[in-house]
C-alpha cells in the first residue's frame, strides 16, 4: 500500500519536473525540429543501446566494467572492413558483406576469449582499480594494434548496404491550430532505420538467449552468485569466457552499425564511449536499463541540437556526460539499477 502511493507520488513528481523543464526551455527551442529529432535520437540510440548491452553483460557476469568496449567496437568495424576487401586492389581477401560480417564476428569471438583468458583471469580477486586499469590498458593495446595494422586515415569506403543519404519521407498534416507547428513531413534515413532495426533484433535475440537457452540460464545463474552457480555444476570460468565472446560479437555488430553511418575511423572508439552514460543512466545491472538508457542518451543528444542557442547546440558532444553527472548526483544507481546496501 505504502509502496504504491510512493510510486504514484514519484510518477507525479517526474511528470511535474518534466513539464517544468519543458516550460523553462520553451523559448530556447526550435519546436519544429523536435519530433524529427526525437525520431533521429531514437534511431541513433539503438546502436548505443546495443553497445551498452555488451558492457552490461560483462559486468553482470564478472563484475568487470569494460572500458575497452569502445575499442572493441572500433576493432570490429575495422575487421569487417578488412574482410570485405576495403584495402583496395592489394587486399588479401575480399568477401561479400555477409561473409565479411560473419568472419569479423568469428575473429571477435576469439579476441573475446583471448582477453578473458590471458588478461582478466589473472586479475580475479584483485582490487577494482587494477581491473579498471587492465581494461584501459587493453584499450591502449587495441588502439596501437589498429593503428599499426590499418593506418590513421579514416576509411570512407565501408561496404554499407544502405547509403546514409537515402530517406523515407512520411507526410504529416500540418497542425495549424496548435502553437507548435511541425514540419509537414518526417524523415527516416534508410541507414539509420536499418541500424535501429538490426540493433533491436540483436537485443531481442540477446534477451531470448538469456531467457530460454541452457547456456543463457547458466550465465544468469552465474551473475547471481558465483559460488552457488559453481556448486550446481556450472563452470564459472567458461561463463566468463563466453560472456566476453558474446560481448565481442555485440561490439562488432555495434561497430558495423556505426560504420554504416560514419565510415570506419579511429574516432569510432570515442563515439562508442557515449554508451557509458547510457549504462549509468539505465543502471549497471539491468539489460532493460541499458536499452532504455541508450535510447534516452540518443534522444538527449538529438534534442540538445534543436536549441536556438548556438552554445547549447554545440554542446551535443558533451551532452551525454553532463547527463551522466546529473544522474550520478541525483540517482547514482540509475533508473533500473539496484540500490547498494553496504555492510562492513
Amino acid at each position: 500500500m505504502e509502496k504504491r502511493t510512493k510510486r504514484i507520488r514519484n510518477l507525479f513528481v517526474t511528470i511535474g519536473v518534466a513539464l517544468l523543464v519543458v516550460w523553462l526551455i520553451r523559448p530556447y527551442t526550435n519546436w519544429i525540429l523536435v519530433p524529427q529529432q526525437i525520431i533521429n535520437g531514437i534511431l541513433n540510440g539503438g546502436t548505443l543501446a546495443l553497445i551498452a548491452l555488451g558492457i552490461v553483460l560483462i559486468y553482470k557476469a564478472s563484475e568487470v566494467f569494460n572500458f575497452a568496449a569502445g575499442h572493441m567496437v572500433m576493432i570490429g568495424a575495422y575487421l569487417v572492413w578488412w574482410f570485405a576487401g576495403g584495402v583496395g586492389e592489394t587486399a588479401l581477401i575480399s568477401l561479400p558483406l555477409w561473409a565479411a560480417i560473419i568472419a569479423g564476428m568469428i575473429v571477435a569471438v576469439f579476441i573475446g576469449f583471448f582477453i578473458e583468458r590471458f588478461a582478466l583471469r589473472p586479475m580475479t580477486g584483485q582490487p577494482l582499480l587494477a581491473i579498471v586499469l587492465m581494461t584501459l590498458g587493453l584499450a591502449q593495446i587495441m588502439q596501437g594494434l589498429t593503428t599499426v595494422l590499418f593506418g590513421v586515415t579514416p576509411k570512407g569506403n565501408f561496404p554499407a548496404p544502405f547509403s546514409p543519404s537515402d530517406v523515407f519521407n512520411i507526410p504529416i498534416a500540418p497542425i495549424n491550430d496548435v502553437s507548435i507547428v511541425f514540419l509537414n513531413r518526417l524523415q527516416l534515413g534508410h541507414a539509420r532505420l536499418a541500424t535501429f532495426i538490426v540493433a533491436l533484433l540483436a537485443a531481442a535475440i540477446f534477451v531470448a538467449f538469456f531467457n530460454y537457452t541452457r547456456t543463457g540460464l547458466a550465465m544468469r545463474a552465474t551473475s547471481e552468485n558465483h559460488e552457488l552457480a559453481q556448486s550446481v555444476g556450472i563452470k564459472v570460468s567458461r561463463v566468463f569466457g563466453l560472456s566476453w565472446a558474446i560481448a565481442g560479437v555485440i561490439a562488432t555488430l555495434g561497430g558495423i552499425l556505426l560504420a554504416t553511418l560514419t565510415g570506419v575511423s579511429l574516432s569510432l572508439s570515442t563515439v562508442a564511449l557515449a554508451a557509458f552514460p547510457a549504462i549509468l543512466l539505465g543502471g549497471l545491472e539491468s539489460f532493460l536499463g541499458a536499452i532504455v538508457g541508450g535510447l534516452l542518451v540518443g534522444i538527449t543528444v538529438a534534442l540538445v541540437q534543436t536549441s536556438t542557442i548556438v552554445e547549447v547546440r554545440n554542446s551535443a558532444e558533451i551532452a551525454p556526460y553532463v547527463l551522466l553527472l546529473i544522474v550520478l548526483l541525483i540517482r547514482p544507481e540509475g533508473l533500473f539499477g539496484q540500490k547498494r546496501i553496504e555492510r562492513i
Binding site: F65, A119, P122, M123, Q126, L128, L129, A130, V132, L133, M134, L136, G137, L138, A139, Q140, I141, M142, Q143, G144, L145, T147, V148, F150, G151, V152, T153, F276, P277, L280, L284, E311, N314, S315, E317, I318, Y321, V322, L324, L325, L328, L329, P332, E342, R343, I344
Partner: protein
Amino acid sequence: MAVLRPAGDFDRSYEQDMSLVRQKWQWGVLIAGLIMLFTLPRLGNTYIITTLNQIAYTVVALQGLNLLTGYTGQISLGQAAFMLVGGYAAGLGAKELGLPFYLSIPFAGLIAGLVGLIFGLPSLRVKGFYLAMATLAAQFIIPWLTRQPKFEAYLGGTNGFIEVPVVTFLEYRFGELSDFVYISLGVMLITTVLTINVTRTRMGRAFVSVRDNDLAAELLGVNLFHYKLRAFFLAAFFAGLAGSLRAFSQRGVGTQFGYGLEESVLFLGMLVIGGLGTNLGPFLGAIFIILVEDLALWMGATLAETFPAQAAQLLTSFRPLFFGLALVLFLIFEPRGLAHRWRLLKASWRLRPFAR
C-alpha cells in the same frame, strides 16, 4: 607497511623519530643526488633537458593523483583535464593579471583545486566505477569548454591554444628550457616533501583509512565528505602546479598539446607501474613510462625512415601499444609496482647472505 630497520638503528629523541633523513650517510647521498640532478641540465644535451623537465612536471601531477588514488582510493580519470585548467590559469594569470611566476604557479594550483572540488562532489554519493565515470565526465567537459568560440579571446577557441609569456625573475629570463628546468625541479622537490609529510599526518592516515574501509573510517570519526574533498582538492592542486609548469615550459597551453583522456589513463598507468600508495611510486612510474614512450617514439621514427609509406601509422601506433603492454604486464606480474621491487631489493641486500 612497517619499515624494516637494521639492528642498532634507534631513535633517541622525538625529532629523530620524525625525521625523514635519518643518518649522516643518507644526507650525503641526498646532497650528492641533488647536485647530480641540478648539474645534469648543464651538460647541454637537449634530450636530457626536455626529458628531465617532462619527468619533473609529470611527477608533480602523479603525486597529486597518488594522494587521491593511491592513498584515498578514489579512481580519477580526470587528472589531465585539471592540468589543463592549471595551465590556463597560470598562462592567464601571467598574461592578464601580470602575476610573477612564483605567484602564478600556486595561483594555477588553487584554481585547478577549486575546479577539482566541483568534480569531487559526486564522490560522497558514489564510488568505484561510478566515481571513475564522474571524473571521466570532467575529462570530456573541461577540454570542450576551453575550445568554445565564446572564450576565444582568452582560451584560444577551436584551435585550443594560447601563448604563455616567458618566465622572468629579477630581469633574468627563463626562456630556454635548460634554465626553466630548474624551476620544474624545484617545484617537484617542494611537492615531494609536501606529499611525504601529508601522508604522515592525521590527514594522510585519514586518507588511508578511507581507502581501506570507508564505512569503518566513518565509524572511527573520519568525516568522509571532508577528507574525500580534501583529497580531490590536493590532487587537482598538484595537477594545476604540473599544468602550469608544462604551460610555461612549452610556452603555450591548450588542447592542441594533448591533455586528453589518453593522458589521464597514462597517469593512472604510471602510478600503478611505479607503485600505488608509495612515495617512490610516482618517480619510478614517471621515469619508466616516459623512457618507454621515448623508446616507442624512437622505434617508430626509425621504422618510418625504412618504410616511408607507412610513416604516419608507425609514428603514432607504438606509444599506446608499448604503454598498454607495459601496463597489462605489470598488472599481471607485479601489481604492486616497481616500488615494491625496490623494497624487496633493499631487504635482500640487508639480509644478504641469507636472502634468496
